[in-house]
Amino acid sequence: MPPSEREADPSDVAATPATVPYFESLERQAHAAHLGMWVFLASEALLFAGLFALYAAYRVEHPAAFAAGVEGNARVLGSLNTLVLLTSSFTVALAVQQSRSGHAGRCAALLATTLLAGGAFLVIKATEYRLHFHEGVFPGGFGSDVAPRQGLVVFHTLYFVMTGLHAIHVVVGMAVLLVTAIRVVGGRVRPPADHPVALAALYWHLVDVIWIFLWPLFYLTGRG
């Protein structure tokens, strides 16, 4: 049903349990929720922007050490994680589409698939960290027997901080998706009041967008 028709039918709004009384219509409520989520995502982008600015400044200061650090990272594992996250973005976008169509079962299955992809991402990332620790690479240059170059220490510290913060966002995103999937299965999120699925998907896509920039900066831009 088009939005204009939904707004014209007050019984539809009244019958929807998710509608909060101070919103004129479900459409306005969904718009407010979307705007709030986008502003939150913008603040998240600014959080990561500070770290990206640090990365850029230190890369200008230590270009050779940063290129060496990129060469030393596990390019295949990082690229595999890119594939996993891009696929998860696709599945969660499909979940939103199925939610709009009223297919709660398919929507929940796609959310579960996205959760599995998030879990796979974390397993691959943990494997990567374990390889680094085995090689004596730690944040801040700690744990290394030989004194590494200052630029390399900065690179690895930024690597652990930025990918670690991103991994925390993956965990939070998985929790949001899990709660959303449970609500969908329980019949508490259904059309036309299905914007919680879209909001959870928006957060997950942000996690993907941040990784889209982390991947080249930490895995692909070596000595060239």
């Binding site: 696709f90 976008a93 991947w215 692909l220």
Partner: protein, 136 residues
């Protein structure tokens, strides 16, 4: 409240996903090409293209309202300004001759303050000429 347009269908999502995979594959392959100083700009250009696809199609920003697009544009501008000013500062320090002193390594600091006075004798010896004039 949306700006209009139908939400992307399954086919549009599939095309976007295919484009994302193709761009990721291109970026991976280019990382093995010897691009010299262009390696980072090229990789970032591909990353921006991928981010644009995710924002426009998966996140449906292209059909959101003007208020939402304004919020996103403002955030994008602020992110760009932050990174540009930081990089601009670091990259131009040598050119304009205002390189700040490097931090001294730990343990190499010369003691200052009271501890230095204890090793060098009374502080009066370094007093300026004006100090005596102020005394009665």
């Amino acid at each position: 409240m949306t700006a209009g347009g139908r939400p992307p269908g399954g086919q549009a999502l599939l095309v976007a996903f295919g484009a994302l995979l193709a761009l990721a594959a291109a970026s991976f392959a280019l990382s093995y090409a010897h691009l010299g100083r262009f390696v980072t700009p090229v990789a970032l250009a591909v990353a921006f293209a991928k981010a644009a696809i995710v924002l426009a199609v998966f996140m449906e920003l292209s059909r959101e309202s003007a208020s939402i697009r304004l919020a996103v544009a403002a955030a994008g501008l602020l992110v760009a300004l932050l990174i540009a000013f930081v990089v601009g500062d670091v990259a131009t320090r040598d050119a304009i001759g205002v390189t700040p002193p490097s931090p001294e390594p730990l343990g190499a600091r010369v003691p200052v303050g009271p501890s230095r006075r204890l090793t060098e004798g009374p502080a009066k010896t370094s007093a300026g000429p004006g100090e005596g004039a102020m005394r009665p």
